[in-house]
């Protein structure tokens, strides 16, 4: 099974239009930035919609568009819905 088809993937792997639920933010994200992401709504169990991946990862959470650099998006783990 390739990583593209696995249900738990880093945010950076989702295709535009995909819906997912946040699993975890891993420890490689700076703690302060992790707190900010949680405050933005990128918290475990919360739903999101992937909008685009280039030039940056952009997701919609809680009616807010959030842009994340690749180095952060690859450490946000989500489950596809």
């Amino acid at each position: 099974m390739s990583i593209d088809h696995a249900s738990r993937v880093p945010l950076g792997f989702l295709l535009p239009g995909a819906q997912a639920r946040v699993d975890a933010l891993d420890d490689r994200i700076d703690p302060t930035q992790r707190e900010q992401l949680v405050a933005y709504g990128l918290a475990p169990n919360r739903p999101l919609v992937m909008l685009q991946q280039r030039p940056m990862t952009i997701v919609m959470v809680d009616e807010v568009e959030l842009a994340l650099e690749d180095s952060v998006a690859r450490h946000v783990w989500v489950t596809r819905r």
């Binding site: 700076d30 703690p31 302060t32 930035q33 992790r34 707190e35 900010q36 992401l37 949680v38 405050a39 933005y40 709504g41 918290a43 475990p44 919360r46 909008l51 685009q52 280039r54 030039p55 940056m56 952009i58 809680d62 009616e63 807010v64 568009e65 959030l66 842009a67 994340l68 650099e69 180095s71 952060v72």
Partner: protein
């Protein structure tokens, strides 16, 4: 300052400053960009002259982590607060209520202004304000601050402000730790307005402002607090765990009072928002925006308006009339000279400031305000991020950098929106070195644009190369880590012309207060140097560097003396010599003067923001570097095109 205050508190970009303006009549800078308010603003309330209204910077998270969050926390700790108006974004209730959970624990009477409920409605989100008010136990007023909707009702309901009901009980371990700290805080450091429980939760969340306040209030006993927090941490009561519980409680309540209807198609604004950062369309759109700004500022402002002001109004009417009047009425020839001579306060200082600079900065600030309020800048930071990564920054730095093209001094202050001291230092340095302000840009466009497109292109490429090279080196030499970009993108909105006008007038006022005294001082210094015959001596002293190394006419030394006061003043000095300059000399002169010291006002701002030592170090780097680059460029261009070009 009144004895009692009401603070406006809320997440970034929810409309606190617009509401502040509505409630006080005082104008603070408002933009469609998170983090515009970097300092607490204060004004007397319109509805009650005995109350001060305090506008606080937006908080993404409390406990405070960033400078603006700390400023807000300080306001909560130190202001004589009678109540708090929490301003929330109706379409993002979960985030709003996450903050409410903490404010509720602090025990300050509150009212919730559910702002932008029109935008929420357009997205199919409706909030049952009555049910929310029942759940929180405080007045909840739907508002649209930009249109004034709900503001009267909000003012009216302030009298009913009450302490919100707690929205959650934390888990057992956390509650034990909180209870333990509450007892200690109540004994050693009771706060006159805030509850010990609220302070305990913030202290466990490692809020540095609360920590500092408790330490000061409790003295030696504060060691007890630290020990209690250590035990709590060991038991798993971490800031993240507490924040998670607040988020969950807020999410549950938000879901209960929010209804969503499915939308058939995305809003036009939403679609435009996506086009401007589309991986293909973003670039032609960016080029279109740049072209429009160039046409408005470069062609209309620096060309048409400057022509009208400088040649027609000042050149043909004002200056001849004033000169005639002064020469007819002022007996002392030196005084007449000081006013209307070659280095006259009016003929040089005021004419430069009003005829040459004012039209350019006015058009620039209008264009900047329109882009800022449209929500484009936040998207530009996404587009610029990869480029900024090379110079150790992230896309957020695009806002001060672009504002720097208007006024570097103002932009230096705006670097406070950046999250780390390292980012601020690099951005301020790069702006001081290689970002020309609009006044200077106008002069550069006027001089080099008049010579040839390639002259202008060489200048642009040189500035860009220096910016990237200096940034690349600074990012590697300045210790610390780069912070990756995570940013919220505000909705694309049609800018409100009234707001853009107010903002432009505010910025122009600031600019003119800064620029006119400096132009007059600069003119006075030039006049004195000329009167006492020092100018020829300076020109002689600067000859080896200016003529030998840079290959410029020796009179250009005077422009560099003027450049010490303002770069654009110096550039204008070069402009005055333009008939004597070859194309290579014009390019070399403009590149050197652009890199050369930033103006006195921005140096003072750098001292204010970064301290004297860093400001001095920057100047010590920038001045020789400017001459080095200018000289290298001179020799390079002469080698390619020959000395006669």
């Amino acid at each position: 300052m009144n004895a009692s205050a009401i603070a406006l508190v809320g997440n970034p970009n929810v409309g606190k400053s617009v509401l502040f303006h509505r409630l006080t009549g005082a104008y603070v800078n408002v933009s469609n960009y998170p983090g515009t308010t970097v300092e607490v603003a204060r004004a007397t309330a319109r509805f009650d002259a005995t109350i001060d209204l305090v506008d606080t910077p937006g908080v993404l998270t409390l406990p405070a982590r960033s400078d603006d969050e700390r400023a807000t926390m300080r306001a909560l700790l130190h202001e004589p607060l009678r109540a708090v108006v929490q301003v929330g974004d109706a379409k993002n209730l979960r985030r709003t209520l996450t903050l409410t959970t903490l404010l509720a624990e602090l025990g300050v009477p509150a009212v919730l202004a559910l702002n932008m409920h029109d935008e929420a409605g357009a997205r199919g989100v409706t909030v049952d304000a009555e049910a929310l008010s029942d759940a929180l136990g405080i007045p909840v007023v739907p508002t649209v601050a930009t249109g004034g909707e709900g503001v009267a009702q909000l003012t009216h309901r302030l009298a009913d402000a009450s302490t919100p009901q707690p929205l959650l009980r934390y888990d057992a371990a956390a509650e034990t730790a909180i209870a333990d700290l509450v007892q200690r805080i109540a004994t050693h450091a009771p706060h006159p307005r805030l509850t010990a429980r609220g302070l305990a939760i913030l202290y466990l969340g490692q809020d540095s402002e609360v920590e500092a306040w408790l330490q000061q209030a409790a003295g030696e006993a504060s060691a007890e607090f630290a020990a209690a927090r250590g035990i709590a941490l060991a038991a798993g009561v971490t800031p993240a765990a507490l924040a998670h519980e607040r988020g969950e409680a807020a999410g549950t309540l938000a879901a209960r009072v929010t209804a969503r209807t499915a939308q058939s198609s995305p809003l036009l604004a939403h679609r435009i928002g996506q086009w401007v950062i589309h991986r293909v369309w973003a670039w032609p759109i960016l080029l279109g925006v740049l072209f429009a700004v160039y046409e408005f500022v470069g062609v209309f402002g620096a060309g048409t308006l400057v022509g009208l002001m400088e040649e027609t109004l000042f050149g043909e009417h004002l200056n001849p009339a004033i000169t005639q009047f002064v020469q007819g009425h002022v007996g002392l020839s030196w005084l007449a000279d000081l006013l209307v001579g070659q280095y006259g306060l009016w003929t040089m200082g005021m004419t430069y400031a009003l005829a040459l600079i004012l039209p350019i900065v006015t058009t620039f600030f209008i264009a900047f305000g329109l882009l800022e309020d449209s929500g484009y800048f936040a998207r530009l930071s996404v587009l610029a991020n990869r480029l900024f990564k090379l110079i150790g920054l992230n896309g957020r730095a695009v806002l001060p950098m672009v504002l720097g093209l208007g006024c570097v001094t103002m932009a230096t202050l705006t670097t406070r929106i950046l999250h780390s001291p390292r980012e601020r230092l690099i951005t301020i340095f790069l702006m001081a070195l290689a970002i020309p302000c609009s006044a200077q840009l106008g002069v550069v466009l006027g001089l080099l644009g008049g010579i040839s497109f390639s002259a202008l292109l060489i200048w642009v490429v040189s500035m860009f190369a220096v910016l990237m090279l200096a940034g690349f080196l600074a990012a590697r030499l300045i210790p610390g880590r780069r912070i990756p970009l995570v940013t919220e993108m505000p909705p694309i909105r049609l800018p409100l012309l009234g707001n853009v006008a107010k903002k432009t007038i505010g910025r122009l006022k600031w600019y003119l207060i800064e620029v006119i005294p400096l132009f007059l001082l600069g003119t006075l210094i030039m006049f004195l140097l000329d009167q006492f015959g020092a100018l020829p001596a300076i020109i002689r002293a600067g000859e080896p560097l200016v003529s030998g190394w840079l290959g410029l006419p020796k009179e250009a030394s005077a422009a560099f003396v003027m450049g010490f006061l303002r770069r654009d003043f110096g550039a204008t000095g070069l402009f005055a010599l333009s008939h004597q300059l070859s194309p290579i000399q014009a390019v070399v002169g403009m590149v050197t003067i652009t890199l050369f010291v930033p103006c006195i006002a921005s140096v003072m701002m750098i001292v204010k923001e970064q301290g004297l030592k860093i400001a001095a170090a920057m100047l010590a780097l920038i001045i020789p570097f400017a001459f080095l680059v200018g000289g290298v460029l001179n020799h390079l261009l002469r080698a390619v095109w020959g000395a006669g070009a």
